[in-house]
């Protein structure tokens, strides 16, 4: 296999990628901003390169800084992780220009799936049903309002270049539309692209996504689905695989749709095809629609790793080095659930809680429990980056056992100096709705409202 590998990221994902590199005997190189010089991900790699000041734009989002660091370090491959430059086609291009192997899909596939509107056009051509909406070039407010009325309220306005829940605004009526559009536009501008699209809003929805994997020799396969319905402000907090209520026939149909899309754009490597499922009634193929494809590794990839027994980062590295995927049909074993331990205060509307983690005790990993951490006691969480401290992932023969194992692991978390959502997550995992697999994307908001009035 090719090496060394420059890891163009930070936090838990950089640590996790470094661990696989080490297991495979590949040298890894971390990058760090001035805020991260003493960070855990720097210690996790074999070497490290400074890439600039703390603001992401000047460091983790700077293509020249990262390409320079790769050149200086003697890296041959670049793993972008998730977030930052992971879905940036210009970055993939710059890596190729510099003679570096970008660990991800071809630049053209990133571009084809990069915009939500472009992705929906691909879906139309591939015969994959997408959520009803308007994704045209005419961005005049009157035209967008007219399209919203045609689709029928409630609708969601989304930044074409958005992600991570930003640049999204819901409007329930024609009167509420202009203010929602203005807010979405303002957030969209942060992505450097003010264009928006308008989509049907499924009032009670589940978020279901399919992990796809492709090599450069024509093999495209799927590794089952994940349910990521437990969200706050459109950000996932708990993810699981398999998804409750998805049987073999529906899994095969979603897998067919996901691999059709991957084939349509000449996909290579790990990717995720996201769907929205109408949660009124049990999941049904005709009430599940494609929304977008993430052309990178997902935060929640470990639940798929737990049920398949595969190391997805290992296969990303192997595929990027030109190897063939040696398997076709992967059996799924047991049930896996992940929770995102974040520095935020559930009692104050999930207000971020930056600061020094004066003490951090995470449970010991072991049989059926995996911990992907990015921080240790004594580390500083700065306001510059996201609040994810660690991911806790439980695996068990049954869903009920996996949920309880994860809740118990969260009970054992001790964090001082900052607020975390550990106790809140444990409480949510033990709710009747979660135990019954009856959670939709509004659940957390409703749960908190009920909690406040109780």
């Amino acid at each position: 296999m090719l090496g060394p590998v420059l890891i163009a990221n930070r936090g838990e994902i950089a640590c996790r990628i470094a661990a696989t590199c080490r297991r495979l005997g590949l040298r890894s190189i971390a990058v760090f901003s001035d805020a991260d010089a003493g960070a855990m991900h720097v210690a996790a790699a074999d070497a490290a390169e400074r890439i600039g000041p703390a603001p992401p734009r000047e460091s983790y989002l700077s293509i020249p800084a990262i390409v320079d660091a790769a050149r200086r370090s003697g890296a041959r491959m670049v793993h972008p992780g998730y977030g930052f430059l992971s879905e940036n086609a210009d970055f993939a291009h710059a890596c190729a220009e510099a003679g570096l192997v970008f660990i991800g899909p071809p630049e053209a596939a990133i571009r084809a799936m990069g915009g939500k509107a472009a992705a929906k056009a691909v879906a139309r051509e591939a015969g994959v049903p997408a959520i009803p909406g308007y994704d045209g070039d005419n961005q005049a407010p009157e035209r967008l309002a007219a399209e919203a009325a045609r689709i029928g309220f409630p609708i969601m306005i989304k930044a074409v270049a958005g992600g991570g829940g930003r640049g999204m605004r819901r409007a329930d009526s024609v009167e509420a539309f202009p203010a929602a559009l203005a807010a979405a536009r303002r957030e969209a501008a942060a992505f450097g692209d003010e264009r928006v699209l308008v989509e049907k809003f499924v009032t009670r929805a589940r978020h279901i996504e399919v992990q796809v994997f492709a090599d450069a020799h024509g093999t495209v396969l799927h590794l089952g689905e994940r349910d990521c319905s437990l969200q706050r402000r459109n950000q996932k907090l708990v993810e699981e695989s398999p998804a409750p209520g998805i049987g073999p026939a529906l899994r095969a149909e979603l897998g067919r749709r996901a691999t059709a899309l991957a084939r349509a754009v000449g996909y290579v490597g790990a990717g995720t095809v996201e769907f929205v499922a109408d949660a009124e009634g049990p999941p049904a193929a005709e009430r599940i629609w494609f929304i977008e494809m993430n052309t990178r590794l997902q935060v929640e990839h470990p639940v798929t790793e737990m049920v398949t027994g595969l190391d997805l980062v290992e296969w990303q590295l192997r595929v990027a080095a030109g190897e063939r995927l040696p398997f076709t049909d992967i059996p799924l074993r047991g049930h896996a659930v992940e929770a995102r331990l974040c520095a935020e205060d559930p009692a104050r509307n999930f207000l971020p809680s930056p600061g020094t983690i004066t003490r951090l005790d995470l449970p010991e990993p072991g049989a059926g429990l995996r911990i992907d951490a990015g921080f240790r006691g004594g580390d500083v969480l700065t306001p510059f980056y996201d609040p994810l401290i660690a991911k806790l992932i439980a695996h068990a023969p049954s869903r009920a056992e996996a949920l309880e194992r994860l809740a118990s692991a969260l009970d054992a978390v001790v964090a001082e100096g900052i607020r975390t959502n550990a106790a809140f997550l444990a409480q949510v995992l033990r709710t009747e709705a979660m135990q019954a697999g009856a959670v939709d994307t509004q659940f957390l908001a409703d749960f908190r409202t009920r909690g406040a009035t109780a």
Partner: protein, 73 residues
């Protein structure tokens, strides 16, 4: 009328200033938007009044408890 300092709830960067000096604001109006840990956090006016002065600029780093705006209220 008394001068009232508006503090921020957390360490963050000032992303967007919505209020302008001299502006009449109602309780709950968004004065500015902070960004911390990839989230936007609005700073709302604690009561009705007039914006007297703004003590920070867009892009500034602010600390928890720091007064960012003075209100005549």
């Amino acid at each position: 009328m008394a001068e009232l300092g508006v503090p921020v709830e957390l360490t963050a960067a000032v992303w967007k200033i919505e209020a302008t000096p001299g502006q009449q604001v109602a309780e709950g109006d968004v004065l500015m938007i902070l960004e911390s840990m990839k989230m936007e956090i609005p700073v709302e006016s604690p009561r009705a009044g007039t914006v007297k002065s703004i003590l920070v600029a867009e892009g500034d780093q602010v600390q928890e408890g720091q007064v960012v705006l003075l209100l005549d209220a």
